[in-house]
Symmetry: D2
Subunit: 337 residues, 4 copies
C-alpha cells in the first residue's frame, strides 16, 4: 500500500501530536514535511521524526512536490489562508477545528473546497473518531436506542491547566467558539439535525476575568433541533477532577452514555477517599487514539477518493451555531435560527 505523503503546518502542541501520529502511528501515512514559523521548533520536530523537508513558510511546504496532503494545525485565524495555499497547490487538506474564526471566512473556505472537487478536504473534529463515540454512533444507526430524544454533551477542562487556559482566553473566541463547538458538532452528527432554537447562558463563577472578554468561565446552552430532538451542552473551565468530556444520548428504546466517568485507566484506587477512578488531566491523552483514527480515515478517503467527514460545511455550520450561542448568551435571549 502506498503511503500518503503528508506535510504538517504548525508545530504547536497539537501539530506535534499530529506529526508524531502521521510519522509513527498511522500506517497509511508518511510524514514528509514540517512547517512552523519558529524554525528551531520545526527543525527539532523534524529531526526527531526523521523528516528532511523543513519550512518556515507554509506556501513553500504547500508547493513541495513531494507533499500530497497538508495537515493544517496553525492558529485558527490563518486556517482559511492555508487551505487556499494547499488546495491551490493541488494538495488534499486536513484542517484542525475550528474551520475559521468567523462565518465569513468559513464561507470562503467552502468556496476554495468547491473549486477543487477532485481534492479531499477533512475537518478535524476528532471526537467523532473516538472508539466510544464510534460505538455509540453505530448503536444509534442500528436502532438500538430507537429515536433520539435528547443529547447532552459536556466539555470540561481541568482546573489544573487553568493558567494556560487564561492566557489563551482573550483570543480564543470564548467558551462557545473554542470549546462548545465540539459539542455542537457532536449534537449535529448524532441527531442528524440542525438546531432550530437555542438559548445560551453562563457566568463567571470562579474566574472573574472572563467578564472582560464578554465571556463566562462556565456556560450552557439548550437547543431544539429541526427534527424535534432536544440538546443541552455545558462547557466548564474549572473541573476539579480532570478533563471531562461526556455525552449522553437518550432514546425511545435506550440510553447511551459516553465517559460518564473520565477514568484515565482501568485502575480503581481504594483509599481514605473511597473507591476512586483517577481522571484524564489533559485532552491529548484522552483523544490520542481519536487523533490517530481521524488521520487514518483521512488517508483512506484520499486513497479511495471518497468524501471525508466532517466536511467544510460542517465547519461553517458549527461555527455559525457557536456564534449564535454567543449572541444568545450576550443578549440573554432565546434565538430562533
Amino acid at each position: 500500500m502506498k503511503k500518503l505523503k503528508i506535510g504538517v503546518i504548525g508545530m504547536g502542541r497539537l501539530g506535534y501530536e499530529h506529526a508524531c501520529n502521521i510519522a509513527n502511528r498511522v500506517p497509511q501515512a508518511e510524514l514528509t514535511a514540517i512547517c512552523d514559523a519558529d524554525l528551531k521548533r520545526a527543525e527539532s520536530a523534524a529531526e526527531e521524526l526523521g523528516v528532511t523537508a523543513v519550512y518556515t513558510n507554509p506556501k513553500e511546504l504547500c508547493s513541495d512536490p513531494e507533499v500530497e496532503a497538508v495537515a493544517i494545525v496553525t492558529d485558527t485565524s490563518s486556517h482559511v489562508e492555508m487551505i487556499g495555499y494547499a488546495m491551490d497547490a493541488g494538495k488534499h487538506v486536513f484542517c484542525e477545528k475550528p474551520l475559521a474564526e468567523n462565518v465569513e471566512k468559513c464561507l470562503a473556505a467552502e468556496k476554495i473546497a468547491e473549486a477543487h472537487p477532485e481534492l479531499i478536504f477533512m475537518l478535524g473534529f476528532m471526537r467523532r473518531y473516538d472508539h466510544s463515540y464510534q460505538i455509540a454512533k453505530r448503536k444509534i444507526e442500528d436502532g438500538e436506542i430507537g429515536d433520539i430524544i435528547l443529547v447532552r454533551s459536556y466539555s470540561q477542562d481541568p482546573i489544573s491547566i487553568i493558567e494556560g487556559t487564561l492566557q489563551f482566553a482573550p483570543r480564543s473566541g470564548g467558551q462557545f467558539i473554542d470549546m462548545s463547538i465540539h459539542d455542537i458538532d457532536l449534537i449535529r452528527w448524532l441527531t442528524e439535525s440542525e438546531p432550530r432554537n437555542l438559548w445560551a447562558i453562563g457566568g463567571c463563577y470562579e474566574f472573574k476575568q472572563y467578564k472582560e472578554w464578554d465571556d463566562g468561565d462556565n456556560a450552557a446552552c439548550m437547543m431544539q433541533c429541526e427534527n424535534d430532538t432536544m440538546a443541552f451542552l455545558f462547557a466548564g473551565r474549572a473541573a476539579a477532577h480532570g478533563s471531562h468530556v461526556e455525552t449522553e444520548i437518550v432514546g425511545t428504546r435506550g440510553t447511551l452514555r459516553i465517559s460518564s466517568v473520565p477514568a484515565d485507566s482501568m485502575v480503581e484506587v481504594m483509599n481514605s477517599h473511597g473507591v476512586c477512578h483517577e481522571c484524564y488531566q489533559d485532552f491529548i491523552s484522552r483523544w490520542h487514539n481519536a487523533y490517530v483514527a481521524e488521520m487514518e480515515e483521512f488517508c483512506a478517503c484520499v486513497r479511495e477518493n471518497r468524501k471525508a467527514s466532517p466536511t467544510v460545511y460542517d465547519g461553517t455550520k458549527n461555527t455559525r451555531i457557536a456564534f449564535q450561542c454567543k449572541e444568545s448568551f450576550l443578549n440573554n435571549r432565546m434565538l430562533t435560527l
Copy 2:
C-alpha cells in the same frame, strides 16, 4: 417518648405506603386513623395495620380527638380542602406533593397555614430526605464543592409502567406539573435561589397521545437562577432501564452526582449483555427510606415545635414554576419571571 398520633387520608398506593411507614417504620409515630372514600379499602388497610378508627369522610377523621396530625395523600385537587379541614380542627398537617393543582389554590393553602401558626405544616417532597440527597446537601453546605455552577436533574419513569402512566396522564397536569416539579424543588433547595429566566421544550417521541393533552412524553427545561446558577431538568416517560432520578451539582471546587446508575441493589450481573446493574422499576422502592425519613422529620418538627421544610411557600413556588415551564413549553418561548 410519646408517639405522634397520625391519621392518614387516602389509601391509594402512596397513602398505603405512608400508613405502613407510620404504623411500622417511624418510631416516633402511631397510626391512629385511616380514611378513604372506598370503605373496603380503608377497612382492609386498617385491619392489616391494627387501626380501629376508619372513616370515609375526611372531615370526620380530622375531628377525631385521638388524632393529633393528619397525613393527606388524596388526589391533588382535594389537598387544600383537606388542609383546611385538618388545620381548622387543630391538627398538624403533612401533605403530599404537589400542594395543589393551581397557584390560586396554593395561595389559599398559604392562608390556611398562616391562620394556624401554632400548627406544623410540611409538604411531601421526599427526595430532599433521601439519604444520598441529604449527603449531597451537607457536602454543599460544608463547602466541599465550592459555589454551585449548574444543577442538572432528571426524572425518568420506566417504560414498564407506561400503561398506568397513560391512564393518569390526562388529569396529571402534564410532565412539568406532575414530574418535573420534583426537580424544580430540588433545584430551588440545592441552589437556594429562584429561577429568573426559563425555557421549556419537549415533544411526543414515542407516545403521540400526549399531544392531545397539550403535553409531551419527554420534556426539558433550562433555567437561569437569580444567583446566576444554571439549571437543566429533563423528564421522561419511556426509560428502557428503569426508574431513573438523577441529580448532578457542578461546583467551582467539585461535582456531586446522585444516582447516575439507579441500581436497585449492590449486585453486578456479568452475562452476555456485559457487566450490568439492574435498576429500580418503581418509585416507591427507590424512595421507601426517604418516605420514612420525611415522616420522622415531620414528627420531630411537631415534637420540637419547629418549622418543617418543604414549607407551604415551597409548594406555591414549585407549582408556579411548573406552570411557567408549561407555559414556556406551550408557547415555545423563553420566559422572564
Copy 3:
C-alpha cells in the same frame, strides 16, 4: 396480626440495634423486655424504647410470661447457656452469631434445640437476609448463572475502627472464628455444599500484636467443596476505604458480584482525587436493613411454625470449619475434612 413479644438479652451495640429494630422497624414484633448485666444501660434503652420489663438476670427475662421469644445478643461464651434458659422456659430463640466459642458447646446447643422441636430457633447470620444477597441467591436458584464454579468472599473492616478491634481481639477467637465465619456461612449457603479440603494462611502485615494471639491481621483460605465448587475467602482488619464485605459467585453461565464497591450512598464525588464513591465505615450501617429483615423472617417463622434458617446445625458447621481454618493456618497445612 398479633405481634411477637420479644425480649432482648444484651444491650451492647448490636443488642441495642436489635432492640431498636424490634421496637420500631419490625412490624410483626414488639419489644417486651430488656436484660443487661449493667442495669443502667438496660434501663436507659428500656426508657428510650418504651419497655417496662427490665432485667439484669437473663433467667428472669426468660421466665417472664409476657415474653414469647428471646433474642440473645450477649458475649459468645454465654450463648448456649442463654439458649438453654430460654428454650427450657418455652421461648423461641433468635441467637446472634457465632453459636458458641467452640464446637462442643455448639453440639450442646443442638441438643437443647432438639429437645424443643416445638420451638423456633434461628441463628443470626444476617448477611443471608441482605437485599443484595437475597437477589443473588434467587438468581442462582433461578439458574441465571448456571452451575457454581467459584465463590469468593471478602470481609474487611476499616482501619478507622482498629482501636476497638484490637481491644476485642484477644478474646475474639481470631479472624476465622470472629470474621470469616460469615464468609464460611455464605459459601455453604450459596454452594449448598460443605468444604472437603481447605488451606488457610495469613500474617501480621500491619499490626504485629496479632502474633501474640496466634492470629494475623489479614488471613485467607481456599476451599474445595464436596460438590467440587471452589471457594476463596479473605479477612482483613486494615482496609483504608471502609467496611468492605464483597462476594462473587462465578458460574458456568454468568457471574454475580455483590458490593464490589461498598458505597454508602448513591453519591459520586468528583474532586481532586478523581471520581469517588465514599464507603461504609461501620458494619451496622451496612447491614441495618439485613438485621431488620432477618428479624422479620424470625417472626414469620414463629407465626407460620416453620423452620428458620440459618439453623443450629449451620452454627455448628460454621464454627467447626472456622476452627479448621484456624488449625490449618496455625500448622500451615492443607486439611482434608
Copy 4:
C-alpha cells in the same frame, strides 16, 4: 533516531499483531523480515506490511544481515530452538510467552542467553506493559498502598471463543501453563517475591472433555510467598461476559483493582438489562496497546543497551511454578516449594 530492524518469526494471530505493530505503531522499530512455515501466509503479511524479505526457514531469517533483532512468535515447543538460532546469529531476541513447554528447555534458554551477554533478551509477558498495570506498579513503588498483603489475579476467556480454545486445549499444557502463567508472572512482578507454598484445584464445570487432558475448564491456586504476601489466582474458560483479566492488590494502606469491569469502551448502555458495560471479547483488542508498549520497551533496551524485563529467568520461574500448580492440582495436595 535509527530504527531497530526486526524480523518476526511466526505469522499466526499474535505474530501478525506483533508484525503490524513493529511496522506501523512502534516508532523505534522497522519490520525487516517475516518468516512462516506457510509461505503464502508469510507473503501475504509481507505484502501488506511492505516487507521484501520473506522466509519459510527461521534459520535463514536469523542469518539475514539486515535483521538486527528477532521476534519469536512460533509454537511454544520451538521457542528455545529459535532463540538459539537468533542469538547465535548475533540478534537481539524478543520471545513470546511462555518461554518453553518445560523447565528443562527453559534452562537451556537461560544458557543461550547467558552465552550472549552482549545481546538483549526480552520475554513477552505483555500485561506488565499495559497502561493500567504500569500505573498500579508505580503506585505500589511509590508506597501509595503500603505493604502488599494479597494479590488476586483472574484470567477468564469468553465462552464466545470456546471452539478455538477446545481445539488448542490438548496441546496447550493446561490452564496453569497456558493461562495462569500470566497471573503467576504478575504475582511475582507485583510482590517481588516467589511462592513458598501453593495449592491448586479445579474441575470440569462445563466442558467435561478437559478431564481427558488431565485438566479442568476452570482452576484456581492459592499461594503463600516468601515475603509472606498471599496470592490467589483463578483461570476460567467460560466467562459469559467476555475476556476478563483482573488483578487486585490489597495493601496495608490501600487497595488497587485493575479492570474489575473489563469494559471495551467508555460507553454505558442503558436498556432493559439495566445499565451495562459491554466487555472485551478477545485478548488482542484488550492488550493491543500493551503489545505495542512492550515492543517499544524492547527497542529502548536495545538502543540503551540495558537489561530487558521480563528476563529469561522470569520465563523459567513462571514455567516452573505453573508446572507446580499443575502437579498440585493433579495430586490435590499443597506443595512446599
